[in-house]
């Protein structure tokens, strides 16, 4: 059943968001701390666990994979609702405070990657 796969995905999403909200409350901050990240970890763990026990049928997998494939269209729609005008009209301080730290972070990526021995990989899962 396709819908069971969607149910597993939705369950992980809600559980993850709940975890993020609770963590935010515990830390006394007005934000969800890593709710999406927790949801991803739950989904990876649960789908692995179910696949090992042959509970996760290909049909179920298709239900979750549909949403994974919808990712690109959603991201395109997301970019079309960004406040680009607001970013460009924020003045020199905003532009500099956006560009310089971002450039610095980009420059650090290869340094950290080298430090942790990241290698290009073949397309094995």
């Amino acid at each position: 059943m396709l819908i069971y796969g969607v149910a597993v995905l939705a369950g992980c999403y809600l559980l993850g968001q709940l975890t993020g909200e609770i963590l935010g409350r515990l830390l006394h901050i007005d934000a969800n701390v890593g709710g999406v990240g927790f949801a991803m970890l739950f989904l990876i763990l649960i789908s692995h666990w179910m696949q090992e026990r042959k509970l996760f049928t290909t049909d179920m997998e298709q239900g979750a994979l549909f949403w994974s494939k919808m990712y690109i269209p959603v991201i395109v729609a997301m970019s079309a609702i960004q406040n680009v005008q607001g970013a460009l009209s924020g003045g020199l301080v905003a532009i500099l405070a956006g560009v310089i730290p971002t450039a610095a972070a980009f420059l650090m990526i290869p340094l950290l990657a080298k430090l942790f021995h990241a290698h290009p990989e073949t397309t094995t899962p």
Partner: protein
């Protein structure tokens, strides 16, 4: 030149679509003066549902279906260190810009530093510290500039920064951190890397909201008193 650069991208189609999305968003803002890009035009308001935070987060979680637990474990430490460094680097350079541009009070400097992390951390920090609405607006705009810059720049620089494996993707997510920018940047570069980058990036805003109004504010105040 541009054609050659496009040729190297795994999926130039998405990069082009995302770029045109940003162009549409700009036009929407110019025409209506609103804040939600093309969705401010009444007939196209459906964009704000399709591209809103709920669908974005739900589909990001769904991409985890293809992710490998082994690879995440291997890159876990690198991702965590990248997260902390990412917030520190963005904050320090953002605060540095604020100081260079003439801001001398710790609250404004911290708020703009927070905005340099993401457009959520800026206003959350400013709200917690009681920053002026002018400074909060600047911090949001700085975060927006970052998000859009990351979206456009990621596929262009991916080959130069070695963004072609899961470990570097986790480092990238942690260092850059702005969820929308990372999500769009990786979608335009290589969709297979999305779960790894998104996993670390989703912790960035929460961690930034924790660190900026507390430790980092005290640090700025200590330097400026």
């Amino acid at each position: 030149m541009a054609g050659q650069a496009l040729y190297r991208w795994t999926d130039p189609g998405s990069a082009i679509a995302i770029f045109f999305g940003l162009v549409l968003a700009y036009l929407g803002g110019r025409i209506t003066g609103g804040k939600k890009g093309i969705a401010d035009i009444p007939g196209l308001s459906g964009f704000s549902l399709m591209g809103g935070a709920m669908f974005r987060d739900f589909t990001i979680v769904a991409t985890a279906m293809g992710a490998s637990l082994v690879k995440i474990r291997q890159a876990g430490l690198a991702g965590a260190i990248a997260l902390l460094l990412g917030i520190l680097v963005a904050f320090i350079f953002g605060a540095g810009v604020a100081i260079a541009m003439g801001y001398r009070d710790a609250v404004s400097i911290t708020t703009i530093g927070g905005g340099a992390c993401t457009f959520i951390i800026g206003p959350v920090t400013g709200g917690a510290l009681g920053a002026s609405s002018e400074v909060i607006t600047i911090s949001i705009a700085a975060g927006l500039v970052k998000s859009i810059l990351v979206t456009i720049a990621t596929p262009m620089v991916a080959q130069y920064i070695g963004l072609n494996n899961s470990k570097t993707a986790m480092i990238y997510g942690g260092l850059i951190g702005t969820t929308s920018g990372v999500a769009a940047g990786l979608a335009a570069t290589d969709p297979k890397l999305v779960p790894y980058g998104a996993l670390t990036a989703t912790f960035y805003t929460g961690l930034g909201c924790l660190l900026c109004p507390s430790i980092l504010y005290l640090l700025v105040g200590w330097i400026y008193s």
